[in-house]
């Protein structure tokens, strides 16, 4: 093959014969029609789960947290494990949309919309846990630094838990703005295609009067860059601050300076896995295989093997440092962690997070969709165990053996967790029905450079000599100028 002008390492980002119109058709049509049977079934089960979650939480608020299994020694159990797990999952969206935008990674266009939606829903799920794990949730607003008549009494700015409140609410706000600003042009597309009055009105309202002028686009691009700049440090800071909850403590197994980078890598790891889980299903059900290609999944898998390896190094470093410190508390904590009554959770974590993602070094497996799907779930099981291991297996056997205990969750705790799945998927199903799951405008932006049909078209040019090519290029430019002049 002649490869003078076209990179052979970059595979097309959009498969098939696509025109701008065809892109709009493919992505917007599911919104305009009735959802399929699968959508109704899935939505129904999500609602059931959500209701069970609401029931479980109501039960524990009504009777008290004694309905849970957490106790005097293990003060946090499934609640904070699930909090950290969901917030970790919520890292992928902003990483894809902000950091990959700044690095000009074109492949993000196929996955960023769904990933950002996932981020927002995951952060909403995460936020439930610190709220409902409070003994007196009705007084929870005291963590907000609001002017008040109670003294005035302010929160304790030394507390990492308070930093969490700020970190997560900031992250949620910025992610939501970022996501929404990207949606505006796509909403206007739906509005312009709308056949019913109600749809026209609602999407018209949602698109803030977008008309697609050059000025609109210019402002949109500027805003995207500003928000990307704002959210890039947030991707790193949110999980760093979550890790401070543990790192600033005096409990062996928590008191660790390695936590911030280790938590961030783990968050990206689990977030990307969750994106893969959702994308494999979404592309199949909404027939978007040409937009979310195997190449996209492979790119995600590469990041999974990278972050999985970072996490693995962190686990081993932790073990090494606990021995190297020669501190009896540290050494014992890790001994109990890997060989104590909770040994199974540690080894589940090690297997799922460190060993199995290494299979992604094999290109065939990276591009294998069923394998990617299974692995994305394995990774998230592993990451759940990581948080369980950190939270429960540090406290259950800490400094003073007289207070050691064991912890198992009770049904309201499990129900609460299932309920957040209900919340997550209810929101995701609504998103998949009413919002364009792929950023139409951004796909169109890369279509002519990275679309399969345009790339194939390059074969004609590849055989040309450099002079011919230059000549053709100049001619195009002239045409452009003429057109522009005519326009004015």
């Amino acid at each position: 093959m002649h490869i003078k002008y076209e990179s052979f390492v970059r595979e097309p980002l959009v498969d098939g014969n696509k025109t701008y119109h065809q892109v709009s058709e493919d992505i917007i049509r599911p919104i305009e029609g009735k959802p399929g049977r699968m959508w109704y079934v899935g939505f129904f089960f999500s609602i059931i789960l959500l209701c069970f979650g609401i029931f479980s939480v109501s039960w524990s608020v009504y009777w008290g947290l004694g309905t849970w299994g957490v106790n005097r020694t293990v003060g946090w159990g499934w609640d904070i494990t699930n909090f950290v797990w969901w917030i970790g999952i919520g890292h992928a969206g902003t990483l894809i949309s902000a950091i990959l935008l700044l690095f000009r990674q074109g492949w993000r266009t196929g996955v960023n919309r769904a990933a950002e939606a996932m981020t927002i829903f995951a952060v909403m799920c995460a936020g439930q846990f610190p709220i409902w794990h409070m003994g007196r949730v009705w007084d929870g607003f005291w963590v907000l630094p609001l002017p008040n008549s109670r003294g005035p009494l302010w929160p304790n700015f030394d507390s990492p838990l308070l930093w969490d409140v700020f970190a997560i609410s900031t992250y949620f706000t910025v992610s939501l703005l970022f996501w929404y600003s990207g949606l505006v042009p796509d909403f206007s597309l739906i509005r312009d295609r709308a056949k019913t009055k109600l749809r026209k009105m609602l999407y018209g309202f949602a698109s803030f009067g977008w008309t697609g002028t050059a000025k609109n686009w210019q402002r949109m691009e500027a805003l995207a860059l500003v928000l990307a700049g704002l959210s890039t440090p947030l991707v790193l800071s949110v999980h760093t601050i979550v890790s401070f909850d543990f790192a600033t403590s005096v409990i062996p197994g928590w008191h660790t300076t390695i936590f911030p980078p280790y938590f961030v890598a783990g968050a990206v790891f689990s977030g990307f896995a969750m994106v893969n889980t959702l994308l494999v299903i979404t592309r199949k059900i909404l027939h978007l295989e040409e937009y979310i290609t195997i190449g996209h999944l492979e790119a995600m898998n590469k990041i999974i093997v990278l972050t999985g390896s970072i996490v693995g190094v962190a686990y081993l470093t932790e073990l090494f440092i606990s021995w190297y410190s020669q501190n009896w508390g540290e050494m014992a904590a890790f001994q109990w962690r890997i060989m104590g009554p909770y040994w199974w959770s540690y080894w589940a974590m090690m297997t799922c997070n460190v060993v199995s993602p290494q299979l992604f070094w094999v290109k065939k497996l990276r591009r294998n969709i069923p394998f990617t799907f299974v692995m994305s779930i394995v990774v998230n099981i592993g990451m759940w165990f990581e948080r369980f291991v950190i939270i429960v297996t540090s406290t259950y056997r800490d400094w003073v053996p007289g207070s050691w205990s064991y912890y198992s969750p009770t049904w309201p705790e499990v129900g609460f967790y299932l309920g957040t799945f209900g919340l997550f998927f209810t929101l995701y199903f609504l998103f998949a029905k009413y919002f364009p799951v792929i950023a139409v405008a951004e796909i169109k932006f890369v279509l002519k450079t990275s679309g399969d049909n345009y790339k194939r078209d390059m074969e004609r040019i590849e055989v040309q000599s450099a002079e011919e090519f230059q000549h053709e290029l100049d001619a195009h430019h002239d045409e452009d100028h003429h057109e522009e002049a005519a326009h004015h």
């Binding site: 949730v137 007084d139 053996p401 207070s403």
Partner: protein, 375 residues
């Protein structure tokens, strides 16, 4: 049959196994102290031979943090580290990056003697009666939800098969009222904070129940009101006046409570207050009499209940007080603080146990099954 006191009657009894399990609720599930330096015991012989043995052990843990190495060159060559009269104060100041907080008035402190503690549990009962500590019932004890502000950690060592070899040590464990308390800085709403007299205090009304303080307490002495133990503030129970569900809402039942101590509601953390109501009462009485508080005038409930006087309590800033004399002079060689090396700066010290025995078993894997088979 008359046994000298009462009449007893016997029936024919047969005992047969049922092959059923009966669950027993206990508050302590681990019986070995794992040879950890959270408590210290010595034989009389070894302690007489080297009375500074504990001061040396403590010196190895904290002395290097008591001095500022970059200011005192050549100090590192010193082979033996030992806790001297000023080490504690130097460790307090130099063991942290933060400025020292001086305590100029009263500074409450407690000393617990492990040699005299017999593990009877009177302190636990005394504390519960004084401080309206809730009784939670078997189901919740099994979930480790008990509320005891003071507990007695009981550790065994020796051969399980030979009961005569077993050595037992009791360590009453309660809030250590740390001057550098890990629980205080993590509370998002400052519900737990430090008094000018060195008390680690709880503002129940401010607590929102995140349980972060309990997690970060190295001694695990904080207890959360998991349920509405007394039926005092459940949404439902407040509605009834049928003398069945309204428990502590009726006047007669309320007489079981100490009126000087708040009853805690569901969802808040609680823990030992050093009987702050007694401290306040004592200070007020002294103030009205126009004199400072006298040593021994204020006694905590656990101290009062202790049949062996294992607990000493008082103002450590008062040089003539019993507690100050114990720590600085009379029992200095036996004094230690639990987990001193993490710089929590407890206001409770313990006195090491001196055994009239040939050997200490709890620190030797060969002599102690509890240590060997601890998993």
């Amino acid at each position: 049959m008359f046994n000298g006191q009462t009449f007893e009657s016997h029936h024919d009894v047969t005992i047969a196994g049922t092959n059923e399990f009966y669950e027993i609720a206990i508050t302590q599930t681990h019986n070995s102290y794992e040879a950890r330096p959270i408590l210290h015991e010595f034989t009389l012989e070894e302690f007489e031979k080297d009375p500074k043995i504990l001061l040396k052990e403590r010196g190895n843990e904290i002395a290097e943090f008591a001095e500022i190495p970059w200011l005192e060159e050549g100090k590192e060559a010193e082979t033996e580290k030992i806790v001297g009269p000023n080490t504690e104060e130097e460790y307090r100041i130099n063991g942290t990056l933060y400025p020292n907080h001086p305590y100029e008035g009263i500074k409450w402190g407690m000393s617990i003697d492990l040699s005299t503690c017999i593990g009877c549990g009177a302190c636990v009962v005394g504390c519960m009666a004084e401080n309206n500590v809730s009784v939670v019932g078997k189901e919740h004890v099994m979930k480790s939800h008990e509320m005891h502000w003071i507990r007695i950690d009981r550790y065994f060592s020796g051969k399980i098969e030979e009961p005569d070899t077993i050595q037992t040590i009791f360590q009453p464990m309660l809030c250590q009222h740390c001057d550098n308390a890990p629980c205080e800085n993590v509370c998002p709403v400052s519900a737990t904070n430090h008094s000018t007299e060195g008390l680690n205090q709880m503002a129940y009304n401010r607590c929102i129940g995140t349980k972060y303080c309990a997690n970060n307490c190295p001694y695990k002495v904080r207890h959360f009101n998991w349920m509405d133990w007394n039926g005092a503030d459940a949404f439902a129970d407040n509605q009834f006046e049928d003398y069945r569900r309204d428990d502590l809402n009726d006047d007669l039942t309320r007489m079981v409570l100490n009126p000087d101590v708040t009853v805690r509601s569901r969802g808040v953390m609680e823990k030992c207050s050093f009987c702050v109501q007694r401290l306040q009462e004592g200070k007020l009485a002294a103030k009205k009499a126009g004199r400072p508080v006298k040593d021994g005038e204020i006694r905590t409930a656990c101290q009062q209940a202790c049949p062996t006087d294992a607990i000493t309590f008082g103002n450590v800033n008062d040089r003539g007080s019993e507690i100050a004399k114990l720590r600085k002079d009379e029992q200095m060689e036996r004094t230690f603080y639990v987990l001193e090396h993490i710089h929590t700066l407890p206001n409770i010290n313990y006195l090491a146990k001196i055994r009239n025995a040939d050997e200490i078993k709890g620190i030797d894997e060969k002599k102690d099954d509890f240590l060997k088979y601890h998993i």
